[in-house]
Symmetry: C2
Subunit: 379 residues, 2 copies
């Protein structure tokens, strides 16, 4: 189903200086990226845990490879089409941390298991209908996939409500030979950006209580629960500390964004730094107002706009292809027509998804260009 | 610089029923689309005007072709890379309704003029530095492009401030043999979504006053001003009625969105209807809450989220790949797991830009799949 993506426009070549890169372009600071990667894996807050970074944040095979080389057990994807991209890129342990419904999607998932027999592929369920559709597709293709029961630990977005429902659904999974029950998906999405440490810790204490009860319920019934997985960049230290989870799924940590930067820092956690920027050009300038050539098609604004990576300027407005900055105070650079300032994305995941490539720089020189292979993989 | 795009995942085939289309997918209602197309071209509100639809809204060559077949003189693009896509698709009259700065971009634009000698290519300027860069690139390649002086008619985003500055910059343009002065870009972006007819009309009365003075200033100095262009879906009837503009640039009219639907309707204007939807699947359901498999990567939320195209349900939250709907009242469908409801995009331009294809349907049967060739063309 997947065909090779061809790059249409290359904003940079290896050896280019930062100011030679065409704009707007995603630019990765490789030193910072590597530091974030190391900080996570060396941190006591993942000690003893399986680390399964979420690839929905970056959608880039090269980043997934580096995460695995650094010690990750595999990756999460959010979509079957995303999983297909990463399997094609050689990643062999993928959890689709999401429910899948409909004949086309379950068939696509089952066929991935057939086409990549060495790979371990998992998926979440929260309803017997999903289980039966999946089992039918897997049986038809002689495929086998791992199944995780998703438990709603607070977000109210997906997942069964309680231990009894977990056990019921696990019994349904066990009816099907081609489905292998692995454990629980217990991810608390909306807890990731609660601003105070106290709020995030409390949310995960509650989530871990529910997940622990569900795990105990499964084990008491002789049902498998090898993995309890969840946790994002905002909360993973608390999942690790809970004694219930044995796998965490941080995604944004390796690139970061303005929104995560607003979370109160917990000194027990690694101090991740922004590693991805949007390089823009000043395409119009008039006194204390400059207009950049990057707008809603170069970064998402769902968690606020991209922000200047420098002092003295503020975002006044964003439209399809423009961001207007105005001067505030005397700090920071004097921007003039043709300058190429850097913005920090407000929210990394939907921003990455707008671009075809990441320009990789070290000491302000381009050292590589990585395709974002899973860009647009919404299916 | 452009390479052929290959489709990576095809959500539908001709002949599929609506419920067979993979999700999330953009689905165009061809009857409504054709009605919008006709409504504009037949309307008295564009009588005597050159109509140059803005292709940044749809980024789709097939839609541009149909707009031209219906009587449009050409299209607008917002980016050089977008222009490249449409030129490659056979569109031969393109105005880049935006400023271009930097050697790579001006060279790319000039090289398009060389590669497509039959095409008419225009671009906007608001600074002598842009003019000189452009002239240098055109001279080096023996290329010729049309130049429009952008006048700031109220948005404060780009454009020179007044008639004197227009005349000064036009004189600079006239110094360069490879640049052909065509007239004025006088687009009032932020007026498009002022909610009342009165506000929009007032804004364009003001804009037309400024544009008319600038045009008269040019003509008085013996400088060319053949075209005064501007106007979007929210205001074009007023540009037409101004006696100053002779070209309008509506883009969203042919697809529409929730945001334009909130504008007070002016009975003199054509009544455009939503023609593009996001088809989703209910991937999780729990009582009066259903979760759809479309989120921030399937539609933009800068002007509010996509909204149900049906009664009785409201958006509670949107995350990367999910939208949560909750029941409000007893109207509308009973949504269950696996159902495929339609959403109307909040803002069409950045939503289109997230997808690789538009699934085209008539009477709920797929009749075509159109690639969105300029998706991601931000350069």
């Amino acid at each position: 189903m997947i065909l090779p993506m061809k790059l249409r426009w290359t904003p940079a070549r290896v050896g280019d200086a930062l100011h030679e890169i065409d704009t707007p372009a995603l630019v990765l600071d490789l030193d910072r990226f590597e530091a974030n990667l190391e900080r996570l894996m060396r941190s006591s807050t993942v000690r003893g845990m399986r680390v399964r970074p979420h690839a929905k944040s970056h959608k880039c095979v090269e980043i997934a490879r580096r995460q695995i080389a650094a010690g990750a057990v595999g990756i999460c994807c959010q979509k079957v089409s995303e999983a297909e991209v990463f399997l094609a890129g050689g990643i062999e342990d993928i959890l689709v941390s999401n429910e899948v419904i409909g004949k086309r999607k379950v068939t696509a998932l089952a066929s991935l298991a057939v086409r990549y027999p060495k790979a371990r592929i998992g998926v979440c369920v929260d309803d017997a209908k999903q289980v039966r559709q999946l089992a039918t597709a897997c049986r038809a293709l002689s495929a086998e996939v791992d199944v995780y029961i998703e438990l709603d630990v607070g977000h109210g977005r997906a997942g069964v409500p309680d231990t009894a429902a977990v056990v019921d659904l696990a019994r349904e999974v066990k009816l099907h030979r081609n489905l292998k029950l692995r454990g629980l998906q217990a991810y608390y999405g909306s807890a990731q950006h609660r601003r105070t440490v106290r709020e995030r810790r409390q949310a995960i204490t509650l989530a871990a209580g529910l997940a622990g009860a569900a795990r105990d319920g499964l084990l008491a019934e002789g049902l498998t629960c090898d993995v309890v997985t969840g946790g994002g960049t905002g909360t993973f230290p608390y999942e690790t500390g809970s004694g219930v989870y044995n796998e965490v799924q941080p995604g944004s940590y390796v690139l970061m964004d303005v929104d995560y930067g607003k979370n109160e820092f917990d000194p027990i956690a690694p101090a991740f730094e922004p590693a991805l920027y949007i390089l823009c050009s000043v395409m119009s300038a008039r006194g204390d107002r400059v207009t950049l050539d990057a707008g809603l098609k170069a970064f998402s604004t769902d968690s606020g706009p991209a922000m200047p990576a420098f002092e003295g300027w503020q975002v006044r407005g964003v439209s399809d292809e423009h961001t207007i900055l105005i001067r505030v105070g005397n700090e920071g650079p004097n921007l003039v027509l043709g300058d190429k300032p850097l913005l920090i994305p407000g929210h990394i995941d939907p921003t990455i998804n707008l671009h075809d490539v990441i320009v990789v720089s070290r000491n302000d020189v381009v050292v590589d260009v990585w395709p974002i292979e899973a860009r647009g993989a919404v299916f």
